[in-house]
Amino acid sequence: MDIEKAGSRREEEEPIVQRPKLDKGKGKAHVFAPPMNYNRIMDKHKQEKMSPAGWKRGVAIFDFVLRLIAAITAMAAAAKMATTEETLPFFTQFLQFQADYTDLPTMSSFVIVNSIVGGYLTLSLPFSIVCILRPLAVPPRLFLILCDTVMMGLTLMAASASAAIVYLAHNGNSSSNWLPVCQQFGDFCQGTSGAVVASFIAATLLMFLVILSAFALKRTT
């Protein structure tokens, strides 16, 4: 009789221990389910709001337009400098007063560099179109930002060097006994000044292109 009573007590205790485990298991399952659904809903919501492809396509289109304007500006600068020459109305048999861009090495390099930059910008238009068609592609964007940076440097070098010479042509320098030449060749100096301004505009546009490319490269999570 005592042995039977002890067995019944043990049987009663075991079910009590097992039931809490079942409850714990069910509790965990409930905790896991909602976060997954929540994440999926939020992902869809973010995609609808941000639409990274659409935003980057807009940036790519703006990039294309800026690139076209920069190409035109750079070529205009080169053409303006190359076609700026002036011959004074009086001359003698042995001496002719004429000013041309080839008289100054800095102006010659200006024409060459701006022609190169204009050519590069024209050739880079197809790459810009690729960025419009495939907004999320990285390699063409990286290629553009690299070349744009180098071309911006080149354009600024040509523009700044020519600006220094044009400034000297206008004002001269008493310390070094360099006389101004713009008092005689007024049209020539105006033409060169216009070309230098156009080149600086092209350089500024290239700077914006570099920054635009950086924004387009930015990681979207």
Binding site: G25, T149, M207
Partner: protein, 204 residues
């Protein structure tokens, strides 16, 4: 007895299944984060070192040009032959611009440190790229204009009757040329900095 064994088995299976899922998710996330973070951190460290090198080049350019005056040994009571950087407006612009470039680079070091500590953050990286592009433009403008004047001082120009002055002021011209070279070194470093920032920004 059979009923008791059934109760014991069920929670064990469900608990092991749940435990199996969680570790997989955690491991995957850790792997992704550490991989890209390491790559970007390397770029950020390289960025910091290049920035230090550019500081040296920019400040050296400004200091060399600023201290490049020369006085010829002969002079009269009313006329003194002296050449200094402030005789030429372009060289004045050069000294000021290169000093600004050096100052900007020093101030940008903390931002570069932030990109090292937080390799995946895009805001400081983007800020650095925009500012670097602007300062690169200033640096290039100063270096090129000074190079044009320096070339003119060496060679002169027959068409405009501008005579070379380096035959008399040899030391002055050597120092100004050295400053221009140092400025162009800084331009190269800046170009690499901009490209590195672009590469670090790309999506992965």
């Amino acid at each position: 007895m059979k009923n008791e064994s059934t109760f014991i088995d069920v929670p064990a299976e469900s608990s092991s299944a749940m435990k199996g899922k969680a570790p997989l998710i955690g491991v995957a996330r850790d792997h992704t984060t550490s991989g890209s973070g390491g790559y970007n951190r390397g770029l950020a460290i390289f960025d910091f070192l290049l920035r230090l090198a550019a500081i040296v080049a920019a400040l050296a350019a400004a200091a060399t040009m600023g201290t490049s005056d020369e006085t010829l040994p002969f002079f009269t009571q009313f006329l003194q032959f002296e050449a200094s950087y402030d005789d030429l407006p372009t060289f004045q612009f050069f000294v000021i611009a290169m000093a600004l470039v050096g100052g900007y680079l020093v101030l940008s070091l903390p931002i570069s440190v932030v990109t090292i500590l937080r390799p995946l953050a895009t805001a400081p990286r983007l800020l650095l790229l925009v500012l670097d592009t602007g300062v690169l433009a200033l640096n290039t403008a100063a270096a090129s204009s000074a190079a044009a004047i320096s070339y003119l001082a060496h060679s002169g120009n027959q068409n405009t009757n501008w005579l070379p002055i380096c035959q008399q002021f040899g030391d002055f011209c050597q120092k100004s040329s050295g400053a221009v070279v140092s400025a162009f070194v800084s331009v190269v470093f800046f170009t690499i900095l901009v490209v590195i920032s672009g590469v670090a920004l790309k999506r992965h």
